[in-house]
Symmetry: C2
Subunit: 483 residues, 2 copies
């Protein structure tokens, strides 16, 4: 116990790490565990050094590190305090690709970034925390939860499916009932289950390139081959898809993000939509439509999904995410599919995961039903609209010579193309060393050698001061050739 | 609106069902939706009959049915009320196997059972609801949650892995750190990931027969072949496993439930354990050890897992379940494995599911860390001990002529063998028609024709009056040949 503050800090040295890092880690753990609360004073550096029998400079270094990361705030002549407004920070080590992260996290290198342009996630700080927690508490005493013996419907809670059916009918022009929907662990599981249900091992699925690498991983985990099709100014190049079809008899499905193409954010044009549906119908190609951030449309009206337009002869699996509406740490997605596909998806889901978390599904169903989630979406859309415009303004102000972009009509990221052949891989590596994580075009390509020189800059989970800082870090770390 | 009570009951006739069932269904729906709350008075039978224009006997029959099921309570001269203490009841249609359930649930047949001998799940009514809800609420404002961008560690939250490492080191004799653990969606996902990491498609895994069919589904979903090995009085027959090994070069793994064999509850004997480990070492066979209800040991001390004994040359993936400690509707499991296997499991997990639900994982970590879960386990063990003894007494009293069993030293089910060749499939079908769900031996076998005539009778999620009612229903429905 350190005198002069309420804090008790126990230093456990992490092998192979400098002592100040071990101390910083101990302090962040105490904050995460709630032992140190926002606004709490930290012990003076001299007092803590004495008690822990370490050099005062070491305590200083730990406090400095955490102040830089935003965990602590130093106030002149008053001392050091736990920040009241804890920042968007990686608390686990992060690097690309994510699958490689555990080992890296274990060895403690690279250090976590100070700021991160996400791939386009919402801001968990905006979540209606109290309402969600209350709904969760209530659902722990519903008869459905109390009667659950772990063999509930692998399609997910009836309450959530019914609420989703209502929501999607109203918002996406899909005429649905709860029997047409499977609730999944984020859209990731929906993609895996859809591919497992549609494709036999060795069959192929066409994907947009650049595109969404985690979808490719889901499809490969389901035993499918993944074939890239180029993306133009209006989304997937349907002519090129037709050419691939002509030479690939094993091609049985196509994966598209027509509303806001991932990563470039363009919307698939109306003519392309019709051509794609017609091509799919003619060749018996299943369409997996990933409508991952439909809610976030800032200009004009959202475009109706392919699933709402496709003729009855076309098999569309429509995939969506509630994580984009709530927070990325809450893993809820869903898929809408025809009965046979849905049944196969449910059987596979049961084999790998049995069923979802009933209390969470029921809680989110309640928020959807009583309009809380709709109110939240409207508020979030307003805020993200402001953040989008702020990022666009900052990029124009600081990086107009290096980056070109169109302000996207929707979605939670700006696709910024590097001018004059700037190497965005080198740039992102330099940014990473300075503490800014940013994804270059190569992160979204099957064939990195043909990757566009660009960045996907997710803006929604950063507030305006954070966006300004991130743009400045990006500017500071641009390659010398570009200066 | 029915006068004299706050209840509004709308009767929607279910085609093909007697009117009293439609009415009973409407009332349970109103209770589930919260329109009728625990303790609320129901309308008088005469008044309700008049308003709904049905016969008073029909209302009587519906009330009677729901009183038998425990939804309603009749109080002499005061009337009928919604029960204050709602029972363990299936609120969704249920039948075996679960994968077939959605369609059945949709058509509304068969009607939900009134009571169910589960396969051995805990009682969600005992869960420390308030503590879990509070911990969940807190974890929605931790920096880890607020900073999550959906690309956290696929191994699971550091907080939960650290808490589990401490718990398993103390309770299971496993010397672990958080880096040796992956947190999964229930043990089901752990089994799927383990098989995916260990086996190449077409390779085989030996399983106990009778055994755990959902594990077989997980292994098959991972592309593996499943080969049954008989189980004797001391668990898996290791000699028979050796014989299978001799003729099956593709056999690369074995799945065992050594602590309480599923479904028969026997503990794998010490000699068999040593032989199994030695056989695995000699043939380079990986062991998947499913220690699904370790905590529930009523007599003697829990036996240490194989994973705590295996020499360093043997690859053991140790799988456990937090759902057995919490509630089956909360899907948290984990696996402990060597670094290479763990890395492959994490990569596959990321492909199919990305990561777990951070708020839930952090909440459970807090309960584990502050001892709440340990206290809950001790309390639950005491209660389940009583329920086990009560079921044993009731079986002896009512079904001694039909069923033989050993009182299990641990686990949440009694394995009751039918005497004199009674057909347990026919018996369970008759029980099902009367509203009791019970699983016959054939439900646990690859080869149903060789299935033991037995029942697995899970007792933990039924209280003592419910156990008594279930045993009476089982007695009432025994085949005529057995009377």
């Amino acid at each position: 116990m350190v005198k002069g503050s309420r804090a008790t800090i126990e230093l456990i040295e992490i092998p192979g790490q400098p002592v100040f890092i071990s101390l910083a880690t101990a302090i962040t753990r105490d904050i995460e565990r709630g032992r140190l609360k926002p606004g709490d004073p930290l012990p003076g550096t001299r007092a803590l050094a004495k008690i822990l029998k370490i050099h005062r400079n070491t305590v200083d270094a730990a406090y400095h590190e955490l102040t830089m990361q935003g965990w602590l705030v130093a106030e002149a002549s008053r001392g050091t305090f736990v920040a009241r407004d804890l920042p968007v920070l990686a608390t686990t080590a992060a690097s690309l690709p994510p699958a490689m992260r555990p080992a890296a996290a274990r060895t403690g290198t690279p250090p976590p970034p100070l700021l991160r342009f996400s791939d386009g996630v919402p801001d968990p700080r905006l979540l209606p925390h109290a309402e969600l927690a209350r709904a969760f508490r209530r659902s722990l005493s519903t008869p459905a939860f109390l009667a659950s013996d772990g063999s509930d419907d692998p399609l997910g809670s009836t309450a959530l499916r019914a609420a989703l059916a209502g929501y999607l009918s109203q918002e996406r022009g899909l005429a649905l009932s709860e029997d047409d929907i499977i609730v999944t662990r984020g859209s990731q599981m929906a993609l895996f289950l859809a591919a497992s249900a549609i494709l036999a091992p060795g069959q192929a699925i066409a994907v947009e390139e650049p595109g969404y690498p985690l979808a490719w991983r889901a499809f490969r985990a389901a035993g499918a081959r993944v074939i890239g099709v180029p993306v133009g100014a209006h989304g997937l190049d349907v002519e090129r898809l037709a050419a691939v079809l002509a030479r690939e008899p094993a091609l049985r499905a196509v994966y598209v993000t027509p509303h806001h193409h991932y990563p470039t954010t363009v919307t698939l044009g109306a003519g392309h939509r019709l051509k794609l549906i017609e091509l799919a119908r003619r060749h018996g190609l299943a369409i997996i439509e990933d409508d991952y951030d439909h809610e976030y449309r800032f200009e004009g009206r959202p475009v109706l999904p392919l699933a709402a337009r496709a003729a009855s002869g076309t098999s569309v699996v429509f995939v969506g995410s509630l994580s984009k509406l709530l927070a990325p740490g809450i893993r809820l997605g869903y898929a809408v599919a025809e009965a046979g596909v849905l049944r196969r998806m449910a059987a596979q889901r049961e084999a790998i995961d049995r069923q979802g978390d009933l209390p969470l599904e029921q809680a989110v169903a309640a928020l959807l039903r009583d309009g809380e989630l709709g109110r939240h979406a409207r508020k979030a859309r307003r805020i993200y609209h402001g953040r989008r415009d702020h990022l666009a303004a900052e990029l124009r102000r600081h990086l107009a010579a290096e980056l070109a972009f169109d302000v996207p009509a929707g979605g939670l990221a700006i696709w910024a193309r590097a001018r004059g052949g700037i190497d965005t891989i080198a740039w992102s590596a330099a940014a990473r060393r300075a503490g800014l994580e940013v994804r270059p075009g190569a992160a979204f390509c099957l064939d990195e050698s043909a990757a566009p020189q660009a960045f996907r800059l997710g803006f929604a989970n950063l507030n305006e001061p954070e966006i300004s800082r991130a743009v400045k870090m990006l500017k500071r770390t641009r390659p010398a050739t570009a200066r």
